[in-house]
């Protein structure tokens, strides 16, 4: 609907009276019964519950609802989430009222939950009849149509027929057949016709309240009089299953409350066109809510079941956690710094929510610091069940944060890289700012050349090995060059600090003038040190000067210097009023922070590149084996062990499958999409290809599995193999990449292409620099979502990869490459072997029957869900980000 169309529920939201209030309570009562019905269906509470148990149950529900309504009320009061609709307010109050009523009734009446639900349904029916009659006899002013309509008539007729048939058939002592016609059919017909007449012939206020009230009343009476009680059972002769009170009563309750909420909503909006709209919208809204609830329930259920094993024996050092937290901290600071909007009276509340994440992350960080300072580990002990020798054993374990100061190099690299890219993206440019020193230009030219030489040298070492013929060329050259490089980097980084601290003028002036020094020094420093570390890696050299390793020491020094630079620049920025200088200094702060993040990352890279186990400064160390211990994710299965072991091989397998499939499918699909959209003539051919790719995308995945197993496996060494799995999933991914990329490229407006052509740009250059960049967001998002789907795909994998459940070792793809002298000259054993993968492992546990460990299955399913949903989260966030960018720029 286009804007400007008035929403009438806001127009009528001004006044309300007793009738409206009563109907709101009626709606709320129906919702409550619906929820209680769901809970009994899922066995959350017994239908036979009475007395105290029942009061407690309703008390808990009341607590939850009161909390929810209370929070929303506070938000609404502070105008953060303004709720203006009288109907929403009425229903919220009605929820409270009906739950209080139910709790009181449970305390007062000595009945079971089932009986009580039946009674509530009878009450609802009475309320509907009263509302209908009140409207018909003019006690309340409403706006009903002449009839409830034929559609409602047909629906109620069918329902009535079903009820009539069942009632007649189950009546004892009645002959089954009269004059060759089964009696239940006659009863059904009679009831059906009666309901149609009752619905269609009277005015709408009677026609849409009395028939549903009758149905609800009959269902309620059946339950309340225990005709269908808790212990009731019915097994039809030739079905393999049957029905019990435990399943029929909730179904009756769910159905009855749905019907009564619809009818009550109609009454609430005074019948007529508006009433029908409110009734229909109510059902639509309820359905949407139900869908979201199902999704949340699935995710939460798997998480609750799997999290026990997934975090078995998890422990991490406080410092490592701080390193992980650092990017988050920066993000929340940024959010809190952003302008808080207008100076309306409620901006204080918005400000509060802007700062809230920072407060949360900050207090967490403070807690971690406390752990480090006091040296007391933080522990959350818990138990979970595993299966040992086919019997359940409870395992004690704990989630620990230790005061350890060791940090794994991988964490440093990941966190550092994230921060580096974040700051680099925020950094604009410092070109032509400040004084251009004459001595700076040779440095500008020399640094890239030196880096090039270092990379070339590294390549040479890759080719000949670090010690050709037993002569340790690599280590020797590495020692010299790395030390030299480190010294140069130190000089490059220290130069701007020196210039900032000495010289004439105020701090801000000096910082402004020396911008180029900062620019060249920091960027060259990071790049040069990176090249040096690459050389260290390829030349297998780890230079040591006495107790000091020059490279990480310089990196640490440079990081500290960069932070100092950032601090000075920030201080200078505060003191200046000049707008331009203010901006320049802001850039300098970002640049210095970028460099600091870069240098810290380089420390992690150095540890990874050399065989050194750790780089320690006092008690703090960056090590290959940090203080993170997460057996489930980092270990393989332990055969015959008491300890449960982990699912590392399956995680690695899934990662390699996803990488392989994407490497194959993404370039191919993207290329095809470009050709089909930009080069090929739009017509028969493109249409056929489009139809075929769409059809292939909806083809059942197991069919791809059949193809992979029958076509690929015999051609790839005749055994279950990772390569076959990658290719099979690539074939599945290919159509999706083609479809989404085509759509993204098509949605690039033709004006772009025309404008480019008008500038005399040829076709390919237009595609490369106009079309593809504009289409990239769509392509990236589509591909990420597709890859997420592939990551969870199981059916083809069990045919081409098998379903290993107790893998002890992860597949080593990178180490599997080998050069041979005979064709095909390069081989990879690992790719031709089978591997574990998350989805196939779950399947393996299902097929293993009693010997499959259920808790392991839940943990694997949980990890799989985490992997897949992270892809989806990234894809959806990317799409929202790009869309905002396109809309606001």
């Amino acid at each position: 609907m286009s804007e400007g169309y008035a929403h009438e529920n806001e127009l009528v939201s001004a006044e309300s009276n007793l009738y409206d209030r009563a109907m709101d309570v009626g709606i709320a009562l129906s919702i409550t019964t619906f929820v209680v019905g769901m809970i009994t269906f899922a066995d959350g509470v017994s239908l036979a519950a009475t007395g105290m148990e029942l009061v407690t149950f309703f008390g808990i529900l009341l607590g939850v609802v009161a909390g929810g309504v209370g929070i929303v009320a506070v938000f609404s009061y502070t105008n953060v989430v303004p709720i203006t609709s009288q109907r929403v307010r009425g229903v919220a109050l009605g929820l409270l009222v009906s739950l209080v009523g139910l709790a009181v009734a449970a305390a007062a009446l000595p009945v079971s939950l089932a009986t009580m639900l039946g009674l509530v349904m009878i009450v609802e029916a009475g309320l509907l009849v009263a509302a209908g009659a009140g409207s018909r006899f003019g006690f309340v002013e409403t706006d009903p149509s002449m009839s409830a309509g034929l559609l409602a008539g047909i629906v109620f007729g069918l329902l009535g027929a079903a009820i009539g048939a069942v009632i007649v058939a189950s009546f004892p002592g009645v002959p089954g057949v009269i004059a060759g016609v089964p009696l239940w059919a006659l009863g059904g017909l009679l009831f059906g016709v009666g309901f149609v007449v009752l619905t269609v012939s009277p005015r709408e206020d009677i026609g849409s309240t009395v028939p549903p009230a009758l149905i609800i009343g009959i269902l309620g009476a059946t339950i309340a009089t225990a005709v269908i009680g808790v212990g009731w059972q019915w097994t039809p002769e030739n079905l393999s299953g049957g029905f019990t009170g435990g399943s029929v009563i909730p179904v009756f309750v769910l159905f009855g409350s749905l019907l009564s909420s619809w009818s009550a909503a109609k009454c609430r909006a005074d019948f007529g066109a508006r009433g029908r709209q409110y009734g229909a919208f109510f059902v639509i809204n309820l359905n949407a809510f139900l869908m979201v609830a199902i999704m949340a329930a699935i995710v939460v259920f798997v998480a609750v079941k799997g999290i026990g094993w997934a975090f078995h024996d998890f422990s991490i050092g406080a410092l490592s956690l701080l390193v992980v937290l650092a990017p988050l901290l920066v993000l929340t600071v940024q959010r809190a710094r952003a302008p808080a909007g207008t100076d309306e009276w409620h901006s204080a509340a918005r400000q509060f929510f802007r700062v809230l994440p920072l407060a949360a992350v900050g207090s967490f960080a403070a807690m971690l610091l406390g752990i480090i300072v006091t040296g007391t580990p933080f522990e959350i002990p818990y138990q979970y069940a595993i299966l040992v020798d086919r019997s359940t054993v409870m395992l004690d374990t704990a989630f620990r944060v230790t005061p350890s100061l060791a940090v794994g190099n991988l964490l440093v690299i990941v966190s550092g890289t994230l921060l580096f890219t974040y700051f680099l993206r925020r950094y604009g440019s410092l070109r032509d700012v400040g004084i251009e020193y004459e001595r700076l230009s040779p440095v500008r030219q020399a640094v890239p050349a030196v880096i090039g030489l270092l990379v070339l040298l590294s390549l040479v070492f890759v080719g000949i090995g670090p010690a050709p013929g037993g002569i340790p060329i690599g280590p020797t050259v590495g020692l010299g060059l790395a030390t030299l490089g480190a010294i140069v980097v130190a000089a490059l980084v220290l130069a701007p600090l020196g210039a900032l601290l000495t010289g004439e003028g105020s701090l801000a002036e000096r910082a402004h003038e020396n911008a180029q020094l900062l620019n060249v020094g920091l960027f060259s420093g990071v790049a040069l040190l990176f090249a040096v570390i690459v050389l260290e890696w390829t030349a297998v050299s780890n230079p040591q000067l006495g107790p000091l390793a020059p490279v990480p020491t310089v990196a640490l020094l440079a990081a500290l210097v960069s932070i100092c630079l950032a601090a000075f620049a920030a201080r200078a920025r505060r003191s200046t009023d000049d707008t331009l200088r203010h901006r320049v200094l802001g850039e300098e702060v970002t640049l210095a922070l970028t460099a600091a993040a870069g240098f810290v990352t380089l420390i992690g890279l150095h540890v990874a590149a050399t065989s050194e186990t750790a780089f320690a400064v006092g008690p703090v160390e960056v090590a290959i084996h940090g203080s993170l211990s997460w057996p489930t994710v980092l270990q393989g299965a332990i055969p015959l062990g008491q300890a449960p072991g982990g699912i590392y091989p399956a995680i690695v397998g899934t990662i390699w499958i996803v990488i392989g499939a994407s490497l194959f499918a993404v370039p191919l699909g993207l290329g095809a999409a470009v050709f089909l959209t930009e080069y090929a003539e739009q017509g028969r051919f493109t249409e056929v290809v489009e139809t075929a790719t769409n059809a292939l995308w909806s083809t059942p995945s197991i069919v791809f599995g059949l193809f992979g197993a029958a076509f690929l496996i015999p051609r790839l060494g005749n055994s279950l193999s990772l390569l076959a799995a990658q290719l099979t999933l690539a074939f599945m991914l290919l159509p999706l990449v083609v479809i989404t990329s085509r759509e993204a490229i098509k949605s690039v407006p033709d004006e772009y292409r025309d404008a480019s052509a008008a500038l005399g740009v040829d076709r390919w250059t237009t595609i490369r620099s106009v079309v593809i960049p504009a289409a990239m967001p769509g392509v990236v998002t589509g591909v990420i979502l597709g890859v997420g789907r592939i990551a969870g795909e199981t059916a083809p994998l069990i045919l081409v990869l098998g379903s290993e459940i107790n893998a002890t070792n992860a597949i080593d793809v990178l180490g599997g490459f080998a050069f041979t002298t005979s064709p095909p000259f390069i081989t990879n054993e690992a790719l031709l072997n089978s591997s574990a993968a998350l989805p196939t492992q779950v399947w393996g546990i299902i097929t293993a029957g009693v010997s499959g460990s259920t808790s392991k299955g839940w943990a694997t399913a949980f990890m799989l869900l985490v992997v897949v949903l992270s892809f989806y989260a990234v894809g959806i966030i990317a799409r929202t980000y790009f869309r905002r960018k396109i809309n606001y720029e």
């Binding site: 286009s2 066995d43 029958a710 839940w858």
Partner: protein, 373 residues
Amino acid sequence: MLSSVTAEVQDAILGEDPSEGALRTVGLSVLSLVASLLCIFLAPGFALPVLAAFVVVTAFGWRTHQAEIARLLTLVATILTVLTVTLITVYLFFSAFPAFTAHGIDLLTIPILESGPQWFFWLDFVLPTGETIWNPRAGVYSLIPLIWATVIVTTIAGLIAAPLGVLGALFIAEVASDRLREAIKPGVEILAGIPSIVYGFIGFKVLNGFIQKSFLDDGASFLIAGLVVGIMALPTVVSVSEDALSSVPDAMRDGSAAMGATSWQSMKSISVPAASSGISAAIILGLGRAIGETMAVAAILGAVVQPTVPLFDMFDASSTLTSAIAHNYGSATESTLDVLFVAGVMLFVIVAGMSVISQYVERRINRKLQGQQ
């Protein structure tokens, strides 16, 4: 004749007016690519080195004649994509062929129960009947129980997914505010992203126990499988019908609003009828997903292949077309494999057909709504 073909090929590869150098570069690149493709089939060992040669040639070509090489590469990608699609289709039919010739119509044997052949829509006048319907050792295979199981599961799933899905689409497209839509649409996408094996594990571990208690069943049942598959097909129905509803031009709704209709009235009488073919396409696609769903069904229903007695007993259980493949492929003999390929071909034809139909319907409605008809 020959020269015109050459000219056309050259046109396809290079576009119009290539320069001399471009011709040479691209020609060399194409030659090496064809050579490597030939190698894959004739001398697989040399495929990788020749492919490397292609990469080197193309890389040099990229430096000198980027536009032409780029065009060539995208063309190659298109050809490979089309080839892959064709290869999969053809190979499937090719692999199913032996079973077709060996068993023929016997693949559709209707089971004989105590009281004669099972009633199966009077088809026993056309199809053969037999005592055994699935016995790999004796080489007896009938796909009828598998097909029927698929039909039951798909029906239950459709009964759940179609109404709920269309209501959900109405909510997203018409009822929800912009903010709520931003929240719910990703929610539906995530629902689509939950891997089927996770549903299967939940069904296997939790729901099968639930049905034993509440419906006095022995565990596996079509009811649960249909329920789970219905939830899985829900997102497809929601998102495709939501697209259809959103593509109804605003002008139509504004017209209805200008006549004084409430939004429910214009939704009921304008949007839904206008989008009805799109919504049916969505339901067809959703049913296609339900038919092709494998892992959840395989986990819930188990590996047994048996006739459903009585025919509409939703508490019974039997493998479906998909789950039979998943359960049996690993341990199957040669002849069973061929039969499984027949099942695969059936799935492929049915689902691909449904997809083609729904695409046709969608295209028609788009043309209609854009007023080109």
